[in-house]
Symmetry: C2
Subunit: 293 residues, 2 copies
């Protein structure tokens, strides 16, 4: 029973893996039999992730320079995800949406479990659509709602619906908010709504299909903000919170807002602004990590 969360290890629970000599992490092309996983990954203390492969590679390169740490080659042998290592920090992208994220996270959790890594913190850095906040504000999530507005990650296992709680670490969230304030990065915190699509699932009016009115859209946004304390829409938070919680690891979700959905649906920031906004989650997360390694 690989049940080790208690002593700081990344926890897995799968009796079938007990005693297995090999395991191939298919979407990274990494095998226990051919890679000395504890030697390569045993020192990992932070997993930093985000959707875009290009952005994660850029973050990893910058962090290596700023923290004066060596940057690994791309450790992923598959084109599905990229993976870089800078000392105790692992950088992996997750694509868009919870299914893509779940593949990455299950395999990274197994990887770090096999590596005997301890006290690992997972941080997702993303972009999002804000509700009632200025574009450029960084939202540190206090929890994650699914499309039915429940704090739950829904899995379908053997034809049955299973709900997993979507907990993030409140202390870690507070510390990240404090770091943002010290850096003068505009910051707020609240719940994130994890949508399964970019258009209808987020109440946008500019998809290929739209069966609701402008008034219904704005009533939905107001309800989310006023009654549910939802600060932003993104597409991975429920799965990220639930899987890291299940693995017994502390986790945080730090997303910059690219627009205020109360003022429109299309992202209209200039390219320069976009580049600056995109750096804000990195600026605060890298500052937080550098103080702790």
């Amino acid at each position: 029973m690989c049940h080790n969360g208690v002593n700081g290890l990344v926890h897995i629970y799968n009796p079938h893996l007990e005693g297995a000599s090999d395991d191939h992490l298919y979407h990274f092309g990494i095998s226990r039999a051919t890679t000395d996983i504890p030697a390569v990954f045993g020192d990992v203390k932070f997993v930093c992730t985000g959707g875009s492969a290009t952005r994660i590679a850029m973050y990893a390169k910058l962090f290596a320079v700023e923290a004066n740490l060596p940057l690994s080659e791309n450790l992923s042998k598959s084109d599905r995800f990229c993976m870089f290592k800078t000392g105790p920090v692992l950088w992996v992208n997750h694509g868009m949406g919870t299914p893509s994220l779940s593949i990455m996270l299950v395999e990274v959790i197994k990887l770090l479990h096999y590596a005997n890594a301890t006290d690992t913190v997972f941080i997702r850095m993303g972009t999002s659509g804000g509700i009632g906040v200025n574009p450029g504000t960084v939202i540190v999530s206090t929890g994650a709602l699914n499309g039915m507005l429940e704090e739950s990650y829904v899995q379908y296992i053997m034809g049955k619906k299973v709900n997993r709680p979507t907990k993030v670490d409140p202390k870690l969230a507070s510390e990240l908010v404090e770091t943002a304030k010290e850096l003068d990065v505009p910051v707020d915190s609240g719940l994130s709504l994890c949508a399964d699509d970019f258009y209808e699932g987020q109440g946008r009016l500019d998809g290929a299909f739209c069966e609701y009115s402008t008034e219904e859209k704005f009533a939905f946004l107001r309800m989310l903000r006023d009654e549910k304390n939802v600060m932003n829409f993104e597409m991975e938070s429920t799965c990220f919170a639930a899987l890291t919680h299940r693995a017994g690891a502390r986790a945080a979700i730090v997303c910059v807002t690219l627009l205020n959905r109360e003022e429109g649906d299309q992202v209209k920031v200039s390219h320069e602004e976009y580049l600056e906004f995109e750096m804000r989650p990195f600026r605060l997360v890298s500052a937080y990590i550098k103080e702790r390694i």
Copy 2:
């Protein structure tokens, strides 16, 4: 009311877009205001898609050579997806899972609608896990089930659950099966189960978490095959079938199986076999298209 499916156009339904002068397709970085969309995309008759960007780029390059057509540059200005054009055939990847696919498909449907493209056929070419078929068999889907084993793509819109039918075109599926037989590509047809994750959602025993027994796994696979006519697991079919159906376009799903899930959970084909299997959906789809353009 952009409601044009009837005359062969790719159909959208969104009263809010009516009369809008611009639309920015965010995840491709393509705008109506800066790209002459009808000039560039008006002749598209086939959209070929699949998860991996590398694979789709390889398919596009091969097709350009085989059909003696010019290969475009990457037309996507964002790193989220790649997009190539070879005459009337558009090649776009979709990432993993229905949320990522839905973003691509909504924006490609809008793109082709703005382009006034007519009689466009959408074909997804993927990899999958087979149930009771030899690895390397190509499955042409006759329909798609979600995780609750219903022929439905579930959306959450404004906090409510909405079901969309997952229809594929039966005539197109039959024609693709015939083409496979002519080419001696091993082929079968039946339903596909669209899972939201690679591990627990597909009854695998090798994820980070597993709360079911080996016996329960095999009973599930037998039930899927014997009672539901499910031939394979993949991760995009419900959304692909539902969105193309909603757009009034014919669609097919053609996935090669990399393993027989009745014999294991890990993909164990050699690299050479993998490369050959990966080409099978392309071989039959490219032959089908070349006869029709």
